[in-house]
Amino acid sequence: MSQQKVAIVGAGPAGLQAAATLVSLGVSVEIFERNGSPGGHLKQWHALFPHFQNATHALNPLLNGVKGITMHLGSKVSEISHNGNTWRLLSDDGLKYESDAVLLTTGFNLFDASRKEEYGYGVYPGVVTSAQLEEMFNGQRPWPFDKSLAAPKIGFVHCVGSRDVKCGNRFCSKVCCVTAVKQAIEIRKRFSDSAVTCFYMDLRMYGLGFEELYHEAQVNHQVQFIRGRLSEASPAVSGKIQVKAEDTLMGRPLKLTLDMLVLMVGMEPAVKLTAQNNHLALGKPGFGDGFMADRELNTPEYLQVTPGLFVAGACKGPASLPDTIQDAKAVSVDVYNFLKTKS
């Protein structure tokens, strides 16, 4: 019997981990990645919550795990079809690949912050996203204020594009709360006289060590937490930004002038899967399109008529890096068991 083959769509942490796990189980794997390099969002991250682990220390083992595995970079899969037991992948660059199973690890996109027009992202240079802040920590992006500034004032807005019906995203992106707390501490450490304020609705510190990190930010780093979602940001003198919010614990409006405003952008699905007969199209998600777990894939009938299609990682819903890696390992075993029943 020839070695069974699995096509993996997406070379982010989930795809890389699944590839390594499947290969260790004796399965032949090929990875298709639309971007020019593997690693997903992790590759532009600086440090990870809650222990400030260097992101490259998390990425390198994943990259080392797929050494020797064929990876098609810059290859965007646009269509998947199945005929009997065989799956066929078709990419935009004309690549065709046949396999016994397909694993989708298409991950997430970050919310486009310019859609929240009241925050002025893309208009005021001092308004940045959480992902851009990671690039500043990495030295890949300049700070929007003069670094010699004695006491920079920095604000964080939680839930940008999450839990927001008007943006089409009802869900909580889960990781932004603790990311903001982590980044607030990093700012306080980097600029010792800085003043950091977080605007939140509620703080969802669900993981082990997260609540402790929040406590550390509040007590040891004097990060101010204000319960109230920012209503607007407007330009102030010399590139500063004035923000207005209701301090809902005080029941009074509040204003503050900042040197930088960080928007904690949420996660959105990267791919919309539409099924027609034996064909699956991987398209661009539209307004309000949920993650895969919310849609067709949670219908048991759908999975029954398409045996051999699997999904793992953040394409099923917002997930932290450890969640994604654990899920990729678990789903890989499902794939392996499926292949075993076929052989």
Binding site: T197, H215, Q218, V219, Q222, Q224, R227, D247, L249, M250, R252, P253, L254, K255, L256, T257
Partner: protein, 111 residues
């Protein structure tokens, strides 16, 4: 000045651009547990004085952190120092000491 019979309302805005009052910095230094408060409201729910006055400890603490020093000092005087709040506080804030400092802030913590 000529009185035209008009008054102007003061802004209700909390202005966070002001640096924290040095006396408040001193107070937080003297009673660091005040920084632990998460405004859960347990202190206010058990407050004996709160039945008759507007006494809510967590709000005093918010006033401190928002720089509303005069309002805080005034409101802190409603406390009877019974200490029930301290028993119920999940964060172990030394509330009685905190309130005592708040009510005497510019007198004791003279700056």
């Amino acid at each position: 000045m000529i009185n035209f019979g008009y008054t102007a309302s003061e802004s209700r805005h909390i202005d966070m651009d002001e640096r924290l009052h040095p006396a408040i910095e001193k107070m937080l230094h003297r009673e660091p547990s005040l920084k632990e408060c998460i405004a859960c409201g347990r202190c206010a729910a058990v407050c004996t004085a709160g039945y008759f006055t507007g006494m809510q400890f967590y709000r005093l603490n918010l006033m401190a952190h928002r720089g509303l020093i005069n309002e805080m000092k005034q409101a802190a005087r409603a406390c009877m120092l019974c200490g029930k709040c301290q028993m119920t506080c999940p964060k172990g804030v030394n509330i009685r000491h905190g309130v005592l400092l708040m009510s005497q802030i510019t007198d004791v913590l003279d700056v």
